[in-house]
C-alpha cells in the first residue's frame, strides 16, 4: 500500500511562507479531510502532496522517497489529483475526458489498450456516468460535471486520490452525492483519500482522520470526535460555537454563534 507523508514541509509563494515546518502522516486506506480558515495553506498542502509545487524545505515522501526525485509518470500512477474547479475544453465528451486519466499508463508506442478500455468502463460505472459517456462535459449539470472529473481521476487507478474542495459550487444534494461517491471509492477499493473541505460538519461526517490547519501549521489532527471541540473551532476559525452530536451520525456538529445569535444554555 502506498504511504504518503510530509516531513518538515515548508511551502512558499514567492517569499511568503504559506505552510511552515509541517509534519503529516496520511493514514493509508483511510479518508483524511483537511479543514481550516481561508488562506490557512490547506490547498497549498494538497498541491504539494500531489507534487504540483516544489517545497522550500522538507519533502513529501511517497513510500519513503522524496516525491520530487521520482519520475513524473511514476508519481502519476500512484497519486491522482483533482484540483479545485478544473475547466474542461469546450466540446470534450465525458468519455474523452475520462480516457485522459489513462495517460500515465500509456506510452508513445501503446497509446490505448484493453486495460485502458476496461479502466474507463469501470470508472464510468463507479461514478454512474456510463449513460452520459458521449455527452459533452459542458452540457452537464454541475454535479454531473464533477462526477465526470472524479471519473477521470478514478480511471487513473491510483492508490492515493487527492481532491481539492470537490463540492465547491454544488448544491447540498450534489455535495452529499459527491462525498458519498468518494467514500465508495475508499471503502470499495481501499484507496487512500485526502480531500480539502470547507464544511466542518461534512468533514466530521466523512473523515476517518481530520486535519485542522491554522496559519500553515497543524492545529489538531485525529478522529473528528476527539478533535472537534468548541474551543478548537473558536481558536482556529475565530468563531464562537457550540458542538453537538450530529443527530444522524453522532459525529461532532458545529453550530456557529454570531452577534445576533449568542450562546444559550443547552438543555439536553
Amino acid at each position: 500500500m502506498t504511504v504518503i507523508r510530509a516531513e518538515g514541509l515548508t511551502l512558499a509563494y514567492d517569499d511568503r511562507n504559506v505552510v511552515s515546518e509541517l509534519d503529516l502522516h496520511i493514514p493509508p486506506g483511510r479518508v483524511t479531510v483537511v479543514v481550516g480558515a481561508n488562506a490557512c495553506g490547506k490547498s497549498t498542502l494538497l498541491r504539494a502532496l500531489a507534487r504540483l509545487m516544489r517545497p522550500e524545505h522538507g519533502a513529501v515522501l511517497l513510500d519513503g522517497r522524496a516525491i520530487h526525485t521520482l519520475p513524473t509518470r511514476q508519481v502519476a500512477r500512484q497519486v491522482g489529483i483533482l484540483p479545485q474547479t478544473p475547466v474542461a475544453p469546450e466540446g470534450i465528451s465525458v468519455l474523452d475526458l475520462v480516457g485522459r486519466g489513462r495517460s500515465p499508463h500509456q506510452t508513445w508506442w501503446r497509446q490505448w489498450s484493453t486495460a485502458d478500455e476496461q479502466a474507463v468502463a469501470e470508472a464510468l460505472a463507479a461514478t454512474g456516468m456510463t449513460e452520459l459517456a458521449h455527452r459533452p462535459v459542458d452540457e452537464l449539470s454541475g454535479g454531473q460535471r464533477q462526477r465526470a472529473w472524479i471519473a477521470m481521476a478514478v480511471a487513473q487507478q491510483t492508490p492515493v486520490l487527492l481532491l481539492d474542495e470537490p463540492t465547491t459550487y454544488l448544491d447540498l444534494a450534489h455535495q452529499v452525492d459527491v462525498l458519498d461517491l468518494v467514500t465508495d471509492l475508499n471503502r470499495r477499493d481501499g484507496r487512500t483519500v485526502v480531500m480539502v473541505l470547507h464544511d466542518l460538519n461534512q468533514a466530521c461526517r466523512y473523515a476517518d482522520h481530520l486535519v485542522v490547519m491554522r496559519d500553515g501549521r497543524i492545529a489538531a489532527e485525529g478522529d473528528p470526535a476527539a478533535v472537534v471541540t468548541a474551543e478548537l473551532v473558536t481558536e482556529v476559525f475565530g468563531l464562537g460555537c457550540q458542538v453537538v452530536p450530529d443527530p444522524v451520525t453522532a459525529t461532532p456538529m458545529v453550530i456557529p454563534l454570531s452577534r445576533h445569535h449568542p450562546a444559550r444554555t443547552v438543555t439536553a
Binding site: T72, P86, E90, R100, G101, Q118, E122
Partner: protein
C-alpha cells in the same frame, strides 16, 4: 463516515439506503458495445470518424494536387499525370509535370500542411482558436525578418529559411515573455500576440518605405503569400522541416491533450508541463516559420484549417494530422483557383486562401452557434 456509531437516542431514524458496497464488482462486459468506448487498434485509440475524415480529405487533396499538375497553358491528360511523376511518359509531358509544375504544387502541399499543423498545435495548447500563428505575431516576425533580409541585403547570405525561423522564434519569444511566462493562457496571449504582430507589421512597412524599387517589388510579391515561380530550392528545406516536425507534433499530441485540461491536471496526469509546452511551441513556431520563408504569410490557413478539421472530426481540439491534410487541400485548391480564375494576372494564393478560409470559417461559426454548441 462513522457507520458503526449508534445513532443518538431520540434522533430521527436515518433513511435506509441500499448498501452501495453490496453491489459487487462493477459490470463491464456488455457495456462495451452499448457505450462504444474507444477500442484499440495497433495500440492506438480507434476513432472511426477521424480516420474516415483523414482518408476522405487525403483523397480530395490528392485529386486537387493532380488536377493542379494537369491544368495550365499546356494541359496534360489526368491519366498521364501520375506516371509523369515517376518520369514515365512523353518527354514533353514529363518536363511540364515534373520540372515546371511539380515544385510549385509540392510547395503548396508542404506549406498547407505546415501552416495548418502549426495552427492546430498552438490552438490546442492555448485552448483558443484565435491563438493561431498568423494572429499572435509568429508569422509577422518571420515576415519582418525575411523582408529585412531582402531590403537590407543580407537575405542571400543567410538564406530565407534561416531568416524566417529566426524571425518567427523572436516573435514567439516576445509573446512568451510578455504574456505566457506566468502561466497565463487564452485571451491574454491573443491580445499580446496581436500587439507583437502589429509591431512587426510596422517594422515591415518601414523597411518597405526604405527599399529600392526592385527590392520592394520582390518583397511585396512574397508578402501576400505566393506560390508563383517556386522551384525545388523552396521545396527542399520545407520538405525536410515538415518530414521532421509533423511526426514530432503527432508524437507530442498526447501531452498536448493533457495540457488542454489545465496545468495542474496535466501535471497530475504525469505530463512534464514546462517541457511539453516548450517543445510544442517550438514545433509550432518552426513549422510556421519554414512555411512562411518558402511562400510568404499565406493568410488564414493556420487559423481556418484546424478549425475546419476539428469540426469535421467533431473533437474538442484540432487533430494535427487531419488539420494538416485540410491545410493541404485548402492551399492546393486555392492555388488552383488562383491560377484558373484569372489566368493572366498570376493572382497570389494568399488572396484566395484568405477569401475561402474566412468564408468557410464564418459559415461554420454561424451554423454551430445556431445549433447551440457554442462554436
Amino acid at each position: 463516515m462513522n457507520a458503526v456509531t449508534p445513532p443518538v437516542p431520540g434522533a430521527p431514524t436515518p433513511t435506509v439506503l441500499a448498501d452501495p458496497y453490496a453491489a459487487g464488482p462493477v459490470p463491464t462486459t456488455g457495456d462495451r458495445s452499448r457505450t462504444a468506448l474507444h477500442r484499440s487498434l495497433f495500440g492506438l485509440p480507434l476513432r472511426p470518424r477521424l480516420a474516415v475524415m483523414c482518408v476522405v480529405t487525403a483523397l480530395a487533396a490528392f485529386a486537387v494536387f493532380c488536377l493542379g499538375l494537369a491544368l495550365g497553358d499546356y494541359p496534360v491528360p489526368l491519366v498521364d499525370v501520375v506516371p509523369a511523376l515517376w518520369r514515365s511518359g512523353a518527354r514533353g509531358t514529363v518536363f511540364v509535370v515534373h520540372e515546371v509544375r511539380l515544385p510549385r504544387a509540392l510547395t503548396g502541399v508542404l506549406v498547407g500542411a505546415a501552416f495548418a499543423a502549426s495552427g492546430a498545435v498552438l490552438q490546442a495548447i492555448t485552448r483558443n482558436p484565435l491563438a493561431s500563428p498568423d494572429m499572435v505575431g509568429i508569422n509577422a516576425g518571420a515576415t519582418t525578418a525575411v523582408v529585412a533580409g531582402i531590403v537590407l541585403g543580407f537575405g542571400d547570405t543567410l538564406g530565407t529559411p534561416t531568416l524566417g525561423l529566426a524571425g518567427g522564434l523572436l516573435g514567439a519569444l516576445a509573446v512568451y515573455l510578455l504574456a505566457w511566462r506566468r502561466g497565463s493562457t487564452g485571451f491574454r496571449i491573443v491580445l499580446v500576440g496581436i500587439g507583437v504582430s502589429w509591431m512587426c507589421t510596422s517594422a515591415t512597412d518601414y523597411l518597405l518605405t526604405r527599399a529600392k524599387m526592385h527590392q520592394a517589388q520582390e518583397a511585396v510579391g512574397w508578402l501576400v503569400g505566393n506560390l508563383n515561380g517556386r522551384g525545388w530550392e523552396s521545396v527542399r528545406p520545407l520538405g525536410v522541416a515538415v518530414a521532421v516536425l509533423l511526426p514530432a507534433a503527432l508524437l507530442l499530441a498526447g501531452w498536448n491533450r493533457n495540457l488542454q485540461l489545465g496545468d495542474d491536471v496535466a501535471r497530475g496526469l504525469g505530463t512534464p508541463v514546462q517541457l511539453a509546452r516548450g517543445l510544442l511551441l517550438l514545433v509550432s513556431v518552426a513549422l510556421v516559420s519554414f512555411a512562411t520563408a518558402a511562400a510568404g504569410p499565406v493568410l488564414f490557413v493556420s487559423l481556418a484549417a484546424p478549425q475546419i478539421a476539428q469540426r469535421l472530426a467533431r473533437l474538442s481540439a484540432p487533430p494535427v494530422l487531419l488539420s494538416a491534410l485540410t491545410g493541404v487541400l485548402l492551399v492546393s485548391g486555392s492555388d488552383l483557383l488562383a491560377r484558373r480564375l484569372l489566368p493572366d494576372t498570376d493572382l497570389p494564393v494568399g488572396v484566395v486562401t484568405g477569401a475561402i478560409g474566412a468564408g468557410f470559417l464564418l459559415r461554420l461559426l454561424v451554423r454551430s452557434n445556431r445549433a447551440g454548441s457554442g462554436g
